[in-house]
């Protein structure tokens, strides 16, 4: 019975967010009259303070605590900072939208904060147990947020679909974890890696578990063949919630893939790379082709999100060639860079939909963007930046994200994969450019000026400009990703 009290220092940000969630819950219960504004401001303040704590407690080396259940490394810290950032931006964009529809209850912000905590736990997990619990915390909060507009039949349906499919995916993931446990006798990633490396674990059982793990990860990333929920949920959820689903959880899912597959099962890379190859090709082909047929902007962005996640997977599968892990760092950092770039673009694209929406009107059809140039040349320009960047037109951040992933894929020798990805991106450029065409060359149906709060306008402009600016100087973010990954292994 020699138990040493764990070192709480590396987990300071997680503890802070958990405590603040409880404080916000109590505060909004006792201060009912100002609860809405209070919960919002406290949540934003918590996210900002958590970012400072994460930066302050950042350690150069990898630190374990809570009996090795928790790991603090630079990759985790970097992804956590990105998660705070995207959650804060998403909540700011969504605030006016939620207030217009009278669903900006304090519980919404509370769930958003607990969801952030779930993602932080996923990102810093060094063991299957916290990874799974973090995942459930994130998902449960998300299901609820999708259903938050209770009077809308569409959002209830979307929440139901998301919940049932999400529960199924969690089941698959758990089953895979139990198989890996059965084969290796441990749930800790390091221990699993050791056991696989020394070949004490039975490979057939491991492979069986691996299939389920890949299925679970694919669902959370929203890639083919586990993509069915993505369009329906994106379209059905209130746009402010879609904005949340399409951003930070993708980073958490990326971290989950890295921890499970690369930290834990690196020696099985050849097997999971083959599986991911099908996933990536399927996502890029289906995402781009299906997006062409969409008239609904949210649905189109959902399919485009599937293809973007296909690119992230493409980066993940290019790490090991013939047992040589030489390109691994390059490939994984390109995937991480892609995920971060996608989050920044995704924030701006759904932010534009929120900008054009108003009480009783959702600007969710592509036709609603008609003649945006006449209504607001500035935001038409911003939307053009976003669309160009998503299409991968130089010199926006999306171009460099695609370029670095493709470089990694070619370096790994999968030339045909790169060709498929490029061809599909060119086809995909059609539907992005269609939005630009509609904005600049069609006459507007609706010439009412854009009504949006000042903070949304300012931040959305900054977001659009950031896409352009990061495209001019992508090196910094890229090397940050590479450095974070390098220092974590």
């Amino acid at each position: 019975m020699n138990f040493v009290v764990p070192d709480f220092y590396p987990a300071a940000a997680e503890i802070f967010v958990a405590v603040m969630a409880l404080v916000i819950m109590l505060a909004s219960t006792f201060a009912r009259s100002i609860a809405r504004g209070l919960a919002y401001f406290l949540t934003q303040a918590t996210l900002i303070a958590a970012a400072f704590i994460t930066i302050y407690t950042m350690q150069g080396e990898v630190t374990y605590t809570f009996s090795n259940l928790f790991v603090s490394d630079l990759m985790g810290d970097f992804l956590k900072l990105m998660i705070y950032f995207s959650m804060a931006v998403a909540l700011l964009y969504g605030r006016g939208y939620l207030a217009d529809r009278n669903i900006d209850k304090p519980e919404y912000y509370l769930l958003a904060l607990l969801m952030t905590l779930g993602m932080m736990v996923m990102v810093t997990a060094n063991h299957m147990l916290p990874l799974y619990i973090g995942l459930e915390m994130m998902s449960l909060a998300l299901y609820t947020m999708v259903a938050f507009d209770r009077d809308s039949a569409r959002s209830t349906e979307a929440a139901m679909k998301y919940f049932v499919l999400g529960a199924l995916a969690s089941g698959l993931l758990l089953y895979g974890m139990s198989m890996v446990y059965g084969a290796t006798g441990t749930l800790e990633f390091e221990g699993i890696a050791q056991s696989v490396y020394q070949q004490v674990a039975n490979e057939t059982v491991l492979m069986f578990g691996l299939v389920f793990l890949v299925a679970g990860i694919s669902f959370k990333l929203g890639v083919v063949p586990f993509h069915m929920w993505v369009p329906d949920v994106y379209q059905g959820a209130p746009t402010a919630v879609t904005l949340v689903i399409a951003t930070a959880p993708k980073l958490a899912a990326f971290a989950m893939a890295v921890r499970l597959l690369i930290w834990g099962l690196f020696d099985l890379a050849e097997h999971w790379q083959t599986m991911l190859m099908f996933v990536a090709v399927g996502s890029i082909v289906l995402g781009n082709l299906a997006a062409i047929a969409q008239q609904n902007m949210k649905r189109m962005l959902a399919y485009s999100g599937i293809s973007h996640m296909g690119f992230v997977v493409l980066g993940l599968l290019a790490g090991v060639v013939n047992g040589d892990g030489h390109f691994a760092l390059n490939a994984y950092s390109s995937a991480m860079f892609y995920a971060v770039a996608y989050v920044i673009m995704s924030l701006a694209s759904f932010g534009m939909i929120i900008l054009l929406s108003r009480v009783g009107f959702e600007a969710e059809n592509i036709d609603d963007f008609k003649g945006l140039n006449k209504r607001s040349p500035w935001f038409a320009l911003m939307m053009m930046f976003v669309m160009f960047s998503m299409a991968g037109i130089p010199f926006f951040i999306g171009f460099f994200a695609k370029l670095s992933v493709l470089q990694a894929v070619v370096a790994a020798g999968y030339f045909w994969l790169a060709v498929v990805a490029v061809v599909m991106s060119v086809i995909g450029a059609f539907y992005y450019l269609r939005v630009v065409k509609v904005m600049y060359f069609d006459a507007p149906d609706d010439i009412s000026p854009i009504q949006a709060p000042a903070e949304l306008r300012v931040l959305l402009s900054a977001n659009g400009l950031a896409i352009a600016a990061l495209g001019l100087a992508p090196q910094m973010l890229m090397s940050l990703c590479a450095y974070a990954l390098l220092a974590s292994r």
Binding site: T144, R150, V205
Partner: protein
């Protein structure tokens, strides 16, 4: 056959049968009751594995609390069976194909070859006076305190979610707060007005 083996097969056969009935039986209330039977048998098998605390918890928590609540919900809801069964036959071929494939794979992997006694030898028997409950309690509050606390937060999320999605304040409902009613005093209802007597 050893007695323990007999007990195991007895419990296992009932459990598989009950689990199958959960998904095949028509009446949802019966399905819930079969699930209770499944839990009881699973608890029995855990007892055989000397995991007595988990077995008792399973019966107490799942049978005693969760399933009873579930039964209430099922009985309260008016479930239209015909609507649920709509499309059953059109989905059956694909579903059956996937199900059978997974079943074959599971049998191949989970059969005796990889999880038999030679692959996974029997763990050494616990020493005298070993307490499962005590050990669980020990690791739960020391080594696994981090996931333990997180699990409590997951439950908090579920609670907030349930309240946020179901609590509705309706307008125009003539509801009177009983506490207010009880607290009513004479002064609040009756007003004595002094007026001079009228003369005819």
């Amino acid at each position: 056959m050893e007695f323990k083996t007999f007990v195991f097969y007895f419990l296992a056969v009932i459990m598989v049968f009950a689990a199958l009935r959960v998904i095949t039986v028509r009446n949802p209330v019966h399905a819930a009751l079969f699930l209770v039977l499944t839990f009881f048998n699973a608890g029995g098998i855990w007892l055989l594995l000397q995991a007595e605390f988990l077995a008792i918890t399973l019966v107490m928590v799942y049978v005693g609390a969760v399933m009873v609540l579930f039964l209430f919900v099922v009985m309260m809801l008016d479930i239209n069976l015909d609507r649920i069964r709509e499309g059953f036959w059109s989905y059956l071929p694909v579903g059956a194909l996937v199900g059978v494939l997974i079943l074959i794979e599971m049998v191949m992997v989970l059969g005796g070859r990889y999880f038999g006694l030679d692959a996974m030898p029997t763990p050494p028997a616990a020493q005298e006076g070993y307490s499962n409950t005590r050990e669980l309690g020990r690791v739960l509050y020391t080594d696994f305190v981090y996931p333990f606390e997180l699990a409590s937060l997951v439950l908090l999320v579920a609670m907030i979610a349930a309240v946020a999605l179901t609590l509705r304040k309706r307008k125009g409902v003539k509801y009177v707060n009983p506490a207010d009613q009880v607290a009513v005093r004479r002064e609040g209802r009756v007003e004595l007005v002094k007026m001079s007597a009228e003369k005819e």
